[in-house]
Symmetry: C2
Subunit: 297 residues, 2 copies
């Protein structure tokens, strides 16, 4: 899978990191540390976009988190609204030119798309990513990676007609519909509803404190304490979504489902799940330990 359509010959797009929200920011910080490493470690230049957040200090809080991870250069981009995004000669464009890593915070994804959609800043983010800039997004920031993005929708595990509202995202991962806070907010239903509208994209449901690391060749690896749920609808044989009444439970036949925990992989080009590259260390069976005689439990 080409994760975007913008790379020039010889360029390799940067890693994409879609985080399900509520990532560990104070202890091991596995996910944020992985982002910093991919962006160059101590030499990383990280640009933070907090436009999604309604809180005034979200950008500064992430600056502190990345400073604690010893990032050399951190800039919080100032794009509060569409007027700012359209400002000619905005310093944001210059900051993006130098950035090796770009981080999008949580909040509301429509704050970002309504402000940045169709602006030179959005174009710059895509172009810089195609040239190698690593991009991470958490919560709303993860959804924003999609081309066809879940803008909002109700929770609940049953797909229901009109349960989800779609909008154009930033298009960094055009073949994916990314949802977040997936298990905590019980969002399988709205992801399935989105796929019933058009099952072409692969649906990713990312749990909190969990990330999907997506390489430019389409290899996805899971990192974190929860799971990534992957729903694949290319083989969908039937849905009643086009004639169901609003709110009615939908039928979707012939989906594929993969549940991936830490280390498990998924090849987005072949649409198949793969075991962890490094086999997990076998855990002794507690019964064996308890009896100490090595018998099978």
């Amino acid at each position: 899978m080409s994760t975007n359509g913008y790379q020039a010959p010889g360029q390799r797009p940067g890693l994409l990191i879609a985080i399900g929200g509520a990532e560990d920011k104070t202890r091991e910080r596995k996910i944020l540390r992985r982002f910093v490493e991919a962006a160059g470690g101590a030499k990383a230049k990280i640009a933070i976009l907090a436009t999604a957040s309604a809180l005034p200090d979200t950008g500064e809080k992430y600056r502190e988190v990345f400073a604690a991870l010893e990032v050399a250069e951190i800039v919080v981009l100032n794009v509060p609204d569409r007027a700012a995004a359209l400002e000619v000669g905005s310093p944001v464009l210059e900051a993006l030119e130098g950035a090796t890593g770009f981080f999008m915070t949580g909040g509301g994804q429509l704050r970002v798309t309504s402000a940045l959609g169709g602006t030179p800043i959005a174009a710059s983010i895509r172009r810089r990513h195609a040239a190698g800039m690593v991009i991470a997004g958490t919560s709303a920031g993860a959804s924003l990676l999609s081309e066809h993005m879940i803008a909002f929708g109700e929770g609940g595990g049953t797909p229901r007609q009109r349960q989800v509202q779609m909008a154009k995202g930033l298009g960094l991962a055009p073949g994916l519909i990314i949802d977040q806070h997936f298990r905590r907010r019980d969002r399988l239903g709205r992801l399935l509803t989105a796929l019933s509208y058009n099952p072409d994209p692969i649906g990713l449901g990312i749990d909190e404190d969990t990330a999907a690391l997506i390489e430019p060749d389409g290899m996805l690896t899971v990192l974190g304490s929860g799971t990534v749920t992957i729903v694949e609808g290319a083989g969908l044989t039937y849905t009643d979504t086009h004639h169901a009444l609003p709110g009615k439970p939908l039928t979707l036949l012939g989906l594929r489902l993969d549940i991936l925990s830490d280390g498990a992989r998924y090849d987005l080009s072949t649409r198949r799940g793969l075991p962890p590259l490094v086999a997990p260390v076998p855990v002794p069976d507690p019964e064996e330990v308890a009896y100490g005689d090595g018998r099978e439990a």
Copy 2:
């Protein structure tokens, strides 16, 4: 699929009706009415087993529900415990011989299996079903139809090691693991955990006020206001269930997922979903109605 291994030549087993709990008992009563019709309508002789319930009047309450549906003969079986189930010459056996329909209430499924397991009553239920007796179970009563039964487990959408406890069920639908109150209690995780242990059975997750009607030839049809979630693991390519620590999120790769709403079908023998037999009446698009000019919305 043969839904059990007990039918003699020339016999046709009865319909199985697995209900997700909280079925409509006072208004249209579509599910309970379908059960009564399958059991012979006005000529039905229905035996109710309320052993699962800790409440003393559950059996009598269902007697009233079936009486309101004009069932000719209704008996509430008296099997409060294992001593009663082992009673020689129990009138329960005679009641089962005459019954055309057998209904199992909700409650706790282990109350039933611990009392009836291995008794002549359990054998009689299977034999009578093989000879044509219709069987319905709601909530715990639906789980009891399984051969490998979910006894209890925690809610939550993420499969986790040791999240589910299995027990031997009544074995009327040996190829199925049936879970109920599926969306209301968010039980996808425990069903997936059960399948990770052994993906041979097909997993059914049945919503409240929703039923899976299972014909002896293995054709399943959904009836009700929610959905039936079908998880099929024959193609499972990998799981880490055998070495994961207790409570750890599990990986399951290569599952198939079908979501069925009212009228949708699933062939348990070929393991494939099918559209409703009668196409739903097309619903006019609200935009068309609003504009009255027949244009596409």
